[in-house]
């Protein structure tokens, strides 16, 4: 057998089910590899000992009917985990230990998975490069100077470096798909309302969705199947019949109509991306799908809309971090002074910037000009997709306008950083499902991804399309393990 950490999630599951591997075998290999990979700065909190203990417990009484039998998994530190420090990569939550578990992670544990540790991310998931974390930036295993993308950068890096067989992230404007694209992995943002938001540190409530990040499409289908559930504790959770995504996964996409939105051909888009997209179309045609040119006329307004809506919600969601109930506090002369000092010292610059943007767009005199305007444009963007989905079954776009950039390249220019999410953000605004799959390499040899966008609750369809394309693309990336310590 090849190296355990080289196996995909689905392979591990079947090996454990066939008793060729024990949970402890798998867990200890991942622990070993994770311990050697500290250079990547992916873990914020390691629960290796507890994981090994749980693996043994699992092996002593294995329940092989579980979907993730004894599978170790490191997860983004935005999910609250009972009795395990949860920080959202922020100083303001540095010492916070939840007494409760998020619904999504609970679903994982209920189906047999074991927590390996908590993964670094952008502070409160605000960022596209994982450079805003209080715990330092995450290094991409692709190249030491490269960002892994964000905000689920720790997740993407850990996944690509094989420190976890699969992982979960959250996606507010591209935070799963963009880092997946940058690291040559698969990332899926489900339809809004598919995965419960209960117990996930909120960034922007109307956009946040948890989703799987995996090494292949089959794994994504399996993990989504476990993560997604109807939850009474989340008023925005949708009660629909959830398919068995992995069981129903199929390569038959004959006759599917795939839209190519012309507005995604943005100014200055590189030839390589153009070519990648072109190749994608051809693969789809090879699979028997029909390619149709479509128009999403309000695409260019998506980013500015997002940068009103998301910060507005964030400014309010982050008001609870005030040094009173939990987390970090700086003492002050009086209540207001304590608040101001605590929040000034507790939040990083990008978070502060977004809180300020959000506060401004909601403030008296500006609400109509910004926030209300953005909500109206959001409607137009949603309508664009509704119209298109009358004609097509899914949409194919690049995941990002470029491959991964260098650490520090965009950190001083917020707008150029924000532009990185140009292809992913419209999907969140419209609440739709989107998946990014690795589709090729650029000239520098860095991975590039393609995104498939589906109708609401049509995850099965985009998974099937991705599954067929994956086969044709046959993406191979030879990772040199330069970061490993002995």
């Amino acid at each position: 057998m090849s190296n355990i950490t080289d196996l995909s999630l689905s392979e591990l599951v079947s090996n454990i089910k066939n008793k060729k591997l024990s949970s402890h075998d798998v867990t200890s290999e991942y622990v070993k590899r994770s311990k050697k990979s500290k250079n990547l700065n992916t873990y914020i909190e390691e629960t290796f000992e507890a994981a090994l203990k749980k693996a043994k417990e699992f092996d002593s009484k294995p329940d092989l009917n579980k979907k993730l039998p004894g599978i170790p998994m490191a997860i983004k530190d935005l999910f609250c985990t009972k009795n395990v420090k949860t920080t959202a990569s922020s100083k303001i939550l540095n010492n916070f230990i939840p007494t409760y578990e998020s619904t999504v992670t609970q679903n994982l544990w209920n189906d047999g998975a074991i927590l390996l540790g908590k993964l670094n991310c952008d502070e409160f998931a605000m960022g596209s490069s994982n450079e805003t974390s209080y715990f330092g930036n995450v290094i991409s295993p692709i190249d030491k100077d490269l960002v892994p993308g964000g905000s689920s950068g720790g997740s993407a890096s850990a996944l690509a470096a094989k420190l976890t067989p699969a992982t979960i992230g959250t996606d507010t404007g591209g935070s799963i798909r963009q880092p997946a694209s940058f690291t040559g992995t698969v990332g899926l943002k489900p339809t809004y309302g598919s995965c419960s938001r209960y117990g996930i540190v909120a960034f922007a409530s109307s956009l946040d969705q948890a989703g799987p990040m995996t090494r292949n499409v089959n794994d994504a289908a399996l993990l989504l199947e476990v993560m997604s559930s109807f939850d009474n504790k989340d008023s925005t959770s949708v009660d629909f019949k959830r398919p068995m995504y992995s069981k129903d996964l199929s390569k038959d996409i004959k006759g599917k109509k795939i839209g190519i939105p012309k507005e995604y051909r943005v100014d200055g888009m590189s030839e390589e991306i153009e070519k990648l997209w072109e190749d994608g179309k051809n693969y789809l045609k090879d699979c028997g799908a029909e390619i149709i040119d479509v128009s999403l006329p309000h695409t260019k307004f998506a980013l500015p809309t997002y940068y009103i809506v998301a910060p507005a919600e964030a400014s309010s969601n982050l008001a609870r971090y005030d040094g009173v109930k939990y987390g970090f506090r700086t003492e002050g002369n009086n209540l207001i002074d304590m608040y101001e000092k605590t929040r000034s010292a507790g939040f990083g610059d990008e978070v502060k910037r977004r809180i300020m943007i959000g506060t401004y767009v909601l403030s008296s005199g500006y609400y109509d000009a910004y926030y209300l305007k953005a909500q109206k444009v959001r409607r137009l963007i949603k309508n664009d997709f509704n119209n298109i989905f009358q004609k097509v079954d899914a949409i194919l776009t690049p995941s990002t306008p470029s491959s991964a950039f260098k650490i520090g390249d965009k950190s001083n220019d917020p707008v150029s950083m924000y532009l990185n999410d140009i292809f992913t953000v419209p999907v969140n605004l419209a609440g739709l499902p989107g998946i990014s799959i690795p589709a090729g390499l650029d000239k520098k040899g860095y991975p590039l991804g393609l995104q498939i966008i589906g109708k609401s609750f049509d995850e099965q369809n985009i998974l099937n399309i991705a599954y067929s394309m994956e086969d044709k693309i046959n993406f191979k990336f030879n990772l040199k393990e330069w970061w490993m310590n002995d």
Partner: protein, 485 residues
């Protein structure tokens, strides 16, 4: 007609314009967006869930009963019920506001315009209701336990409140008094709020402005925050209106601001946190969806609405021939009306009304008791009234019996039997008794017969005295008239 409430200065008359924002705690088992209990007076922070304390990742899920309570109250206020309403976040920082925002309703409240009929001494007046919306209560900041710090108890955090906003239709502290009482009465009839002001279940922000009598334009208003008794509201208005008139008379301008009523000094004063002129940055709560229900949903709730004070009053007047004044007293409080209706189930209405508003109220007043704590049950009062009505005892004896009943809700029939207080109504017995009175007072009989007819009363008195008060006064009169002819 009572005199208008006007403030006079230098020969000019000022009218006071008042609008109230009443915060009424919804009667419900659990909180508006969490499953914590709402009970008053528990140990600090023992009724706080992760949602109430705003832990990361916690989300609100709305309590349907609170929605129904708000709709019921809206119906009780003759108001428009909105089939679609929106929950917004009102953003501000405060120690007892764990989320950093309050979930409230801003542009689209659950209940729209309505009205309340207020019964003043001068007649009734209609006070307009602007709106009613649902919102979360905050926790409690406690300043007097720890000398250095403020302590925060979140038990109240997240309890459902109805904010009932009146139009600026009130013109005097007296009107405010009757308005609040009427509002409370309606909500108690509906079972939507217990109206207990001591426990903070009912509090109000009071908007006060003044203008010269005859002006159409409203003056600049000041808002007096969170006043928790009717007495304080009246004092605050009185103080605030005079303060404003003084400023205007000195040629000054009123600053629109939020003020506090200082209950120790009986003055209103500007709140300190003035430097941060509030900007609440309302926006729709993205954790919740619009609240929508059908007309049918509202119709079904309408079926559960009990008879309300105004309807009951009309019924009492029409059916029982009570005066509006009496009817008002009997319906103003749900428990009083319940007591009254229990008594009249088997007893004469007029007598019941008299006894309840007379003797019983005097007794309760004296002992400082609510009607629900009355030492005399409705059942026993009803029996007493029947004893009067059928002539078993006289009204005067009844008062004695009533006093005995008050010492432990004794059955009046037993008391009358035990103490032999039954009225003497046997004509033969009474004749004998009266003959004795006449025989014993021959001199007075002569005087009477010689024309001093005023002495008739003397004989009645004697007869009553000899009978120990038990003689039926009517029969005594009749027999005496015959005998003394």
């Amino acid at each position: 007609m009572t005199k208008d409430y006007l403030i006079e200065r230098n020969g000019k008359k000022y009218e006071v314009v008042i609008g109230l924002e009443v915060h009424a705690q919804v009667l419900s088992e659990s909180k508006l967006f969490s499953t914590s209990p709402t009970k008053f007076g528990s140990e600090p922070n023992t009724q706080v869930s992760l949602v109430d304390a705003a832990f990361p990742g916690m989300l609100p899920v709305i309590n349907e009963f609170c929605i129904k309570q708000a709709i019921k109250t809206g119906i009780g206020l003759n108001a428009k019920i909105n089939n679609k309403s929106i929950f917004d976040r009102k953003n501000y920082f405060y120690a007892d506001l764990p989320q950093g925002y309050q979930i409230s309703q801003y542009k689209d409240p659950i209940v729209g315009e309505g009205n309340v009929v207020v019964d003043l001494a001068s007649g009734s007046k209609i006070i307009g209701i602007e709106r009613l919306h649902l919102e979360q209560d905050a926790g409690k900041s406690i300043h007097d336990i720890d000398p250095k710090n403020t302590l925060v108890d979140l038990n109240r955090s997240g309890v459902a409140l109805m904010e009932i906003v009146s139009k600026p239709d009130l013109r005097s502290p007296e009107e405010v008094n009757f308005y609040i009482k009427k509002l409370r009465s309606i909500m108690r009839y509906l079972g939507t709020c217990d109206g207990n002001m001591q426990e903070g279940s009912l509090r109000a922000d009071v908007n006060v402005s003044v203008r010269k009598q005859g002006d159409d334009k409203y003056g600049t208003r000041c808002e007096i925050k969170n006043v928790n008794s009717i007495k304080f509201m009246q004092m605050a208005i009185e103080y605030e209106a005079n303060r404003q008139v003084d400023i205007l008379e000195e040629g000054g301008k009123i600053d629109q601001e939020t003020r506090l009523f200082d209950t120790k000094k009986n003055v209103t004063r500007s709140m300190r946190s003035k430097e941060d002129a509030h900007d609440y940055r309302y926006f729709p709560d993205p954790d919740l969806l619009p609240l929508e229900f059908s007309d049918e949903y509202v119709e079904n709730i309408k079926k559960e609405i009990p008879e309300l004070p105004d309807q009951k009053k009309s019924r009492f007047i029409e059916k029982f021939n009570l005066s509006p004044y009496e009817a008002n007293i009997l319906v103003s409080d749900l428990d009083i009306s319940k007591y009254f209706e229990a008594v009249i189930e088997n007893s004469d209405v007029k007598l019941s009304s008299n006894w309840i508003t007379g003797e019983l109220f005097a007794l309760l007043n004296e002992k400082n008791l609510e009607i629900t704590e009355s030492p005399i049950s409705a059942k026993n009062l009803s029996k007493l009234i029947n004893l009067i009505k059928d002539g078993t005892i006289s009204g005067k004896i009844a008062k004695t019996v009533f006093e005995m009943m008050a010492e432990g809700d004794k059955n009046p029939i037993e008391i009358v039997k035990e103490k032999g207080l039954k009225q003497q109504s046997d004509p033969k017995e009474l004749e004998k008794l009266i003959e004795k009175v006449i025989n014993d007072n021959q001199d007075t009989v002569k005087e009477y017969k010689s024309g001093k007819e005023k002495l008739f009363g003397f004989f009645v008195g004697q007869a009553m005295k000899v009978s120990g008060g038990k003689a039926n006064p009517q029969l005594v009169n009749e027999i005496l008239k015959k005998k003394l002819k």
